[in-house]
Chain length 295, copies 2
């Protein structure tokens, strides 16, 4: 199967599982669940679930056990987008070509739908079916995701991103923001796959570090797209980060240096992925996909 | 030890544990952790941790293992207060006599501090030290709390509370709101204690149902205090719910009938608690404490 077909098939599997895991349409309170589903089924690329599942297989996992934890990560990622878009934060009205949740519903419902999605992420992680021997791994998975999503990870990164807006370009601060804001959950996705496959601590850490570097790649592409993308390809207004005075790679290094960094990092990650046994080549394909994406 | 001394001693134990469990003062990002601590150490009565620990002992638990899960519940409760106070929700500027988090800091930080507290609640639950044989109970505890806090529980109740504001008095709707908004987490606190003590499913359910009725008692007192309390005793403006057109017991049944319901429910819960072995009398003391509280 080539990568495009694999991505499409993975996306269908994850979408079907998310549909099954979320409270059904019409369940009380109907409007809250409508808002949650609106956020979750908004055309996401499902990069994080794909990372969980690919890493799981690359680390030796051989069954479907990683599907529900992969969905848990996507629920947590989705909540973070809903809250980041709020008027008090990035104040975005468009995401993936559609009105953001607080525009389509209202601000209170967007806050609460985000809260519920975060909670549901941990619910899914805690309840997914698995062999009894997995019990310890499940608690460890909760710890890993909570650490990545919490105040020293994703939420912390969003705080520093807001604080850094309008500040002078600062490479160290930029790296800190990106490593926490998007990097932590992407790294945790890769590490989670290894953890669930039963990898030992050293191998888990190696997967996590690979995930961190892949997260950096992802963010560099994001920053470049904000400068070079079109509203049509992005599904949101380009140039918004630059106009808002956000700390980005092009703002700190300029566009050409940023592109060179991207190429170097992609090459190094590609080589690293190909060095892995098992599904390393799929992981390498993912590196290529992330490096070349146009939205 | 009398109840007042027990409450004070419990509160100190919980406060010390929360201080130890939260990221230290000054940890990156400093302002986020400052906001989280501002919210957590705001003079809360620690009713939920006390319920977890009392139920744990009443169900036969005999060591200190319930302290950290009790703190996890308090973190989740605290996040819900921070978000409920936001301008897009109840728009409260005062809580327990102090400016609310979005007033003392700002709105973005209040949203993010709430997000981080919710996440930290699950982190604490997933990582607390315990015998290895507890692993299954820990995942079960995550499920229980996530269900109580999520879209069919606390968050769902807040959504319906907002939707019901200004609507005609409706006893069934009132009960649904209260059962979910405050009742679900109070009930889960009691059930969690039983679960951690190793109670079987039937006993767990009985504790949970007791918790639901205690939650109802708590909410009826809250509604009465909104009508009869003073700003000084409440630490917030009284009459706010009534002025906002919130669905409350006095609004649906009138103050006198509400007081009669409160007395009946308190008497029935008291008898039920005294019927329990072990620390049932402490649970009965808690019923009395909740029924008579003036803030």
């Amino acid at each position: 199967m080539d990568l495009a077909a694999l991505l499409a098939s993975e996306r269908r599997a994850v979408d079907a599982a998310l549909d099954r895991l979320l409270p059904p349409v019409g369940a009380w309170p109907a409007r809250l669940h409508e808002a949650m589903r609106y956020a979750v089924f908004g055309g996401g690329k499902r990069v994080r679930p794909l990372l969980v599942r690919t890493a799981y297989r690359a680390a030796g996992g051989r069954d479907e056990a990683a599907l529900e934890p992969a969905c848990a990560v996507e629920l947590i990622h989705t909540y973070s987008l809903v809250h980041d878009d709020l008027p008090a934060m990035d104040d975005d009205t468009l995401r993936r070509g559609r009105p953001t949740v607080h525009v389509a519903f209202d601000e209170a419902l967007a806050i609460l739908a985000g809260d519920a999605l975060l909670t549901e992420g941990f619910a899914v992680l805690a309840r997914y079916p698995e062999p009894a021997s997995f019990a310890a791994r499940r608690a460890e998975a909760c710890r890993l995701l909570a650490a990545a999503a919490g105040s020293s990870g994703m939420v912390g990164g969003q705080v520093e991103d807001i604080e850094a807006t309008g500040a002078a370009p600062d490479a160290a601060r930029l790296e800190r923001v990106h490593r926490a804001k998007t990097g932590a959950l992407l790294a945790a996705s890769v590490e989670l796959g290894a953890l669930l496959a039963g990898a030992d601590a050293g191998r888990r850490a190696a997967f996590g570090e690979f995930g961190h570097r892949l997260g950096l790649l992802f963010q560099i592409v994001d920053d470049i797209l904000d400068v070079t993308g079109t509203a049509r390809s992005l599904g949101k207004s380009p140039g918004k980060d630059a106009a808002a005075g956000k700390l980005t790679y092009p703002a700190v290094f300029g566009l050409e240096t940023t592109r060179a960094k991207l190429a170097d990092l992609a090459a190094s990650l590609d080589a690293e992925a190909r060095g892995l046994e098992g599904e390393g080549s799929v992981l390498a394909g993912l590196v290529d996909y992330v490096a070349r994406r146009d939205r």
